[in-house]
């Protein structure tokens, strides 16, 4: 069997910004940028897994960075170092980077809690020899920016640090461009980015049931040639080409 759910140890779980937490796990599985893991909670009133993207994978340590937005992530933030949780092996297809060649340039566009998956991607692209820049937008308080091994352009909605405005305005203002683009963030941002940069790869979110392709809970609409088909975010995604995504729902 290629996939499994494993009980793993929490090596660290700490708050890195307001309502943003970082969790490190002992995790002896390969993971690709843009993939995610299903995190199962210990308290049994909540049954469904929480999908959280791979933020960083170094050796046997998997780092997840998650926003505390509801009861599940709140519970996650209460787990202490040394505790164990059930986590799936990596799921989803991740970003399409196999074809990319050394020397090309890439821009990573992230908003808020959409930024974590771009960190592993950044490392992977830099290792491949690409010239990478990241455009990262926050409401107020930045996080993770020092971890990016590349030039970072910063924007905040409230203008507390960096550019005052959103990431797309920042890209337009600075006239940034590159050979390829990758984006992760909330739907409105991804939609706007996809309209401006149709060649962008976007990592999208949808409310999930199983998280591994069995329940059809997480579908999104994707244009293929001329037809619109329903794809599973958990299995066919979570990364799609910006131009193919039908954003209407």
């Amino acid at each position: 069997m290629e996939k499994k759910i494993e009980t793993v140890k929490i090596l660290e779980n700490k708050c890195i910004a307001e309502d943003v937490w970082k969790m490190a796990l002992a995790y002896p599985f390969d993971a690709k940028p843009g993939q995610f893991v299903n995190v199962y909670l210990n308290n049994k009133d909540k049954l469904l897994p929480r999908p959280i993207s791979v933020c960083r994978k170094e050796g046997d340590i998997l780092t997840l960075v998650y926003g505390v937005v509801g009861k599940g992530t709140e519970e996650l933030s209460s787990y202490e170092k040394g505790c164990k949780i059930r986590v799936s092996t990596p799921l989803g297809k991740g970003f399409y980077i196999d074809q990319l060649e050394s020397g090309k340039s890439a821009i990573l566009i992230g908003g808020g809690i959409g930024i974590p998956p771009l960190l592993e991607l950044c490392h992977a692209l830099v290792e491949k020899g690409l010239k990478v820049e990241a455009v990262l937008g926050f409401r107020k308080q930045p996080f993770l920016i020092d971890d990016f091994p590349c030039k970072v352009h910063l924007a905040t909605d409230e203008g507390t640090v960096g550019f005052h405005g959103n990431v797309l305005d920042l890209i337009k203002t600075k006239g940034l461009n590159s050979d390829c683009y990758f984006a992760c963030g909330h739907k409105a941002m991804l939609k706007a980015v996809s309209e401006y940069l149709p060649d962008v790869q976007v990592s999208i979110e949808e409310r999930m049931g199983c998280g591994y392709g069995a329940c059809l809970g997480c579908v999104c609409k994707i244009k293929e040639t001329d037809e619109i088909t329903r794809k599973k975010v958990c299995q066919d995604g979570p990364v799609f080409w910006g131009r193919d995504v039908v954003w209407d729902e």
């Binding site: 409310r207 199983c210 591994y212 392709g213 069995a214 329940c215």
Partner: protein, 314 residues
Amino acid sequence: MDLYFGEGMLFGMNSLDMSVNIAGVKWKNPITTASGTFSARESGEFYDLSELGALTTKGVSYEEWEGNATPRIAETYGGMLNSIGLQNKGVEHFIKEELPVLKRYGVPIIVNVVGKTVEEYCRVVERLSETDIDMIELNISCPNIKEGGISFGTDPKMAFSLVERVRKSTRKALIVKLSPNVTDITQIARSVEAAGADCLSLINTLLGMRIDVHKRKPVLANRVGGLSGPAIKPVALRMVYEVRRSVDLPIIGIGGIMTGEDAVEFLMAGANAVAVGTASLVDPTAPFRIKNELKQFMLEYNYRSIKEIELLEE
């Protein structure tokens, strides 16, 4: 128990018989998957599907159905709501693309059938009857489909005429899956038995709802959805118990089964086999694990066959 210890050893592993005969089809154990919570390719990445008693597919319609808008899933206390809306690519696609994958595992295949009209149900069933699937499960109860108004499964007369017509369309073993959203499930069970069903499966999901108080709107795009998971187990168990006392057909018990002991509860309530649904979303290997836990339970209490698992006479 102590008295039987020697005998338990004597009968031991070898003579433990988990097989059941459901409407003429032999399952090597009484565990199948609940429709819509299992997909051969994906679930097969987590465990060996050939270990189960039977494999039940998601709902198959005649032509492709798009299903409902998203969000389609909402979590509830000890359960979940879904409003998938029976998205599927239609029976031809099923036969061409999915059936061959299912066949690989050498266990009986149960195809869950959905339709918006009697005719549509019949057409799917006729087409499936030309294939080598083993059983047909008629989903007369899906609460998510708005078209056609009231669901077939909530009206004894409508249920009767649907099953009567479908019965004429196939010689395959015909399971009818009942809706719990009714005043008296035994009435529907008896109608469906009279109409020629070979087996009953119950329950489908309870109609439920959740509201996001922050966004001030229903969590599901479809507003309401089907409630499943351990939260509904007591209702499912009561219905199996009631139906067992009013019809003679074999029963596949469904609803919130998470462990081997849950499966035993259903068998004791009168089910002949069980299907595992939401548990597969909480633990992708659930049907396989539950099969093992059931075996463990049988060994511990010295049950030698599934038939022996029943309530004590009072």
